[in-house]
């Protein structure tokens, strides 16, 4: 049990010590964005790798968190009693719609970034898991949900900003985001959140619940005969993953300055999964590292050859999943498995 702690220490030193010293403002800001994606990936790793639920609908939860945060920041930018800029331009409204109003309160908005996605996931999960919708059905249903949510947001231009989304976010709880120092602080908040999410997931994975979740993944019906309702077991992981996606969405807003339906639809939602598959779906840090690596590769490659990136992305979906289902994390495990140690993978695979 020492190794995970050492891994944690290394990660903390890398994120808080090395990265800010080595990277310039622009690259550090990029890293902040990648870390947001990593937070989503940790949740997907939990739901998919540990729980067997391929959630192709994380965009919805990411979006809910992001919009909740962006709505508050837009209201704060506009000042009390004022409408956000886009509403004045495109809306037909003279006053704030009722469902915007609570977001003026910073505490409510912050809570909503995580709780709102979790609540939606809870309701959806109750419907879906109780009716034993799973596997392919679950995956396709969650995709359809993304598509519907994105179309819905786009259609409400006057109140959601439509395709544009909510842009031009200038302040973050009173701090000016134009100030490089404040942007740096945002990076640190994101890095700390990632570590906290990793710690939380680590605890979940190694708890009795974590063992039960794996059991449900491998034999949902069997677990039923042991007196458990698998729907509840899955629900916990699904809701936790949704909360993480919401948190990531909320942090994405100050880091990138925009949240839009383009981050919610079918394509971005499936792209969230790619890093998880590459890094190792069932491991703890695999998904996070995979997400950061893929996002970094996207930036690096598309700066050189845009069409090469699409080919590369296609291959990223194919090669690791076909030939290395355990992802890169399974490479790190090769040695211990020779010694036929426990086949339990996750908790030990910290970097």
């Amino acid at each position: 049990m020492r190794r995970p702690l050492i891994g944690f220490g290394l990660a903390a030193v890398a994120l808080f010590g090395v990265a800010p010293l080595v990277l310039g403002d622009f690259r550090l800001n990029l890293l902040a964005k990648y870390l947001c994606l990593a937070i989503v990936a940790v949740g997907i790793g939990l739901a998919w790798g540990r729980g067997g639920m391929l959630t192709l609908g994380q965009g919805v939860f990411f979006g809910l968190g992001g919009y909740a945060m962006a709505m508050h920041l837009k209201l704060a930018d506009a000042g009390p009693g004022e409408l956000p800029d886009f509403m004045q331009l495109y809306g037909q409204l003279d006053e704030l719609p009722w469902w915007w109003r609570p977001f003026a309160n910073p505490v409510f908005a912050m809570a909503a970034t995580v709780l709102l996605p979790m609540l939606v996931a809870l309701l959806l999960g109750l419907l879906i898991f109780r009716r034993r919708v799973r596997g392919a059905y679950f995956a396709i249903l969650s995709q359809a949900l993304c598509a519907a949510f994105a179309i819905f947001l786009i259609g409400q231009q006057g109140t959601t900003g439509g395709t544009n989304g909510l842009t031009d976010i200038r302040g973050f709880f009173g701090y000016d985001l134009n100030d490089p120092l404040n942007r740096r602080t945002v990076y640190f908040i994101i890095a700390a959140s990632l570590l906290a999410v990793l710690a939380l997931t680590w605890q979940l994975i190694r708890s009795r619940y974590g063992e039960l979740l794996v059991a449900v993944r491998d034999g949902e019906e069997r677990v039923r005969f042991l007196g458990y309702d698998p729907a509840n077991v899955k629900l916990v992981a699904y809701v936790a993953a949704a909360g993480m996606a919401g948190l990531a969405g909320a942090l994405f807003v100050p880091a990138v300055g925009i949240i839009s339906p383009a981050l919610i639809g079918v394509v971005p939602s499936i792209e969230f999964v790619i890093g998880v598959a590459v890094g190792g779906r069932a491991s703890l840090v695999g998904p996070a590292l995979g997400a950061v690596a893929v996002a970094w590769a996207k930036t690096a490659l598309s700066e050189r050859a845009p069409s090469a990136w699409t080919y590369f992305e296609g291959l990223l979906f194919i090669l690791p999943i076909v030939f290395l289902p355990g992802g890169l994390a399974s490479l790190a495990r090769l040695r211990p498995s020779w010694r036929r140690r426990q086949a339990r993978i996750p908790a030990e695979a910290t970097p």
């Binding site: 049990m1 702690l5 944690f8 220490g9 903390a12 030193v13 994120l15 808080f16 010590g17 800010p20 010293l21 310039g24 403002d25 622009f26 800001n29 990029l30 964005k33 004045q88 331009l89 495109y90 179309i151 786009i154 259609g155 231009q157 439509g162 395709t163 544009n164 989304g165 842009t167 031009d168 976010i169 200038r170 134009n178 490089p180 120092l181 740096r184 602080t185 640190f188 890095a191 700390a192 570590l195 906290a196 710690a199 680590w202 605890q203 990138v256 300055g257 925009i258 839009s260 383009a262 981050l263 930036t299 598309s302 700066e303 845009p306 069409s307 990136w309 699409t310």
Partner: protein
């Protein structure tokens, strides 16, 4: 165990705060108060080209990139700007708005470019606008758009609404059309354009018989066309974008609707789109732009010839390409008038700059940072080219907020 982990995070966070403070002084020189830092140390000056080279918008934006590169080549061949050759750094926006924001940040802070040219969709412009404003860097935006914007760090070389939509409506009114049906994609430009059209119609005795929006990328138009047909409108105003146009016009023709009986005025169909939809479905329909490949004049002949020589005889030129081409030349003229690449001085020098563009003479309006452009209505021919059937006679002064139109007072 959890407690220990939490303690660790807490320690790490403290460490972080310390590093953050330490970094404070090193980084303060990054953005100067007079505008973005521009790297002019070498024999060249860098500019950024920011277009979607992949994804759904690549269809249109690649042609803009090509056209920008043509202009840069011409300028370099003629000796460059202020004696420096232009070095273009092309970035892919990947049809994804946050990526546009990311890449513009990279061009400004890492490459230290003197100006960025590009963006197509309003959403991508809205995404990068704060980046340019924050860094006090320049963006030249070459596409017709919905107006209602005037960023101090963006020059708009495409048409604003009073240079495209309003003349389109004037033309329909002059043709005796008394009712219109509005069809558009579900995003900012069509919704704003239609708001303007409704205000115009009300003031000019035209009837708006219906208004429909299809999600971007939607290719199922049978219901909308049914509605259009049932409305009996005398014309259709089309603000659809991209793929949707193909499906819409195929359905339109299938429903037995013709350009003679119920013409469609489109504001997003240029020569390139005509080619991919097919004249079989489009011949006779109308478009509203400021430039066509067939526009007369020596400047256009030169432009079309140069473009075809570089990219192939079968490649048409279109309005956004021309506006992009013009934007580089205007920037050069501004820089040379200012005698420096410094953003604030370039902006200050911009008012009154003229250029003998392929579309005719254009003049920069320093107050709005838009340009005076001639409005032109065209008809799509069987050969896929668009020929002008009407023009505004002289360049129209840009009016992004439609302040000069009494019927538009309630709009913004």
């Amino acid at each position: 165990m959890l407690k220990r982990t939490m303690a660790f995070v807490a320690v790490a966070a403290t460490f972080a705060t310390l590093t953050a403070c330490g970094a404070k002084t090193d980084e303060s020189g990054a953005a100067s108060p007079d505008g973005a830092v521009i790297d002019t140390s070498g024999p060249t000056v860098k500019v950024g080209l920011l277009n979607s080279l992949s994804g759904t918008m690549a269809i249109s934006e690649v042609t803009v990139r090509d056209s920008l590169q043509l202009a840069i080549e011409e300028i370099n061949a003629a000796g460059g700007v202020l004696g420096k050759q232009i070095e273009a750094i092309s970035e892919d926006g990947a049809s994804d708005w946050p990526t546009f924001a990311e890449k513009s940040g990279k061009l400004i802070s890492e490459d230290k470019v003197a100006a960025v040219f590009g963006c197509w969709t309003s959403a991508s412009r809205k995404a990068v606008k704060p980046v340019f404003e924050k860094n006090k860097a320049l963006l030249f935006y070459p596409v017709q758009y919905e107006g209602l914007e005037q960023s101090p760090y963006i020059f708009y070389t495409g048409a604003t609404t009073n240079q495209q939509i309003v003349p389109g409506l004037d033309y329909l009114k002059a043709q005796g059309k008394t009712s219109v049906y509005l069809v558009g994609s579900d995003y900012v430009f069509p919704r704003t354009a239609n708001k303007i059209i409704k205000a115009y119609a009300e003031a000019n005795g035209m009837k708006v018989l219906g208004e429909d929006y299809a999600p971007l990328g939607s290719t199922e138009f049978s219901t909308i066309v049914n509605k259009v047909k049932a409305s009996g409108a005398s014309a259709v105003f089309n603000t659809l974008n991209g793929d949707s146009n193909v499906a819409f016009f195929k359905e339109y023709k299938s429903a037995g609707l013709t350009a003679g009986a119920m013409p469609v005025v489109s504001v997003s169909i240029a020569e390139e789109e005509v080619k991919s939809i097919g004249t079989q479905y489009l011949a006779g329909q109308l478009t509203a732009w400021n430039y066509y490949q067939t526009t007369e004049g020596a400047a256009n002949e030169k432009f079309v010839k140069a473009y075809k020589a570089k990219y192939g005889a079968d490649k048409p030129t279109s309005d956004p390409m021309e506006a992009a081409y013009v934007s580089v030349h205007l920037w050069k003229a501004m820089v040379e008038k200012a005698g420096t690449f410094e953003v604030e001085k370039v902006k200050a020098a911009s008012d009154g700059i003229t250029f003998d563009a392929p579309e005719g003479l254009v003049t920069v309006d320093g107050a709005t940072q838009h340009i005076h452009k001639t409005a032109r209505i065209g008809r799509i021919g069987d050969d896929g080219l668009i020929t002008e059937v009407w023009n505004s006679g002289q360049p129209v002064k840009p009016d992004p907020y439609l302040k000069g139109y009494s019927w538009a007072t309630g709009l913004s």
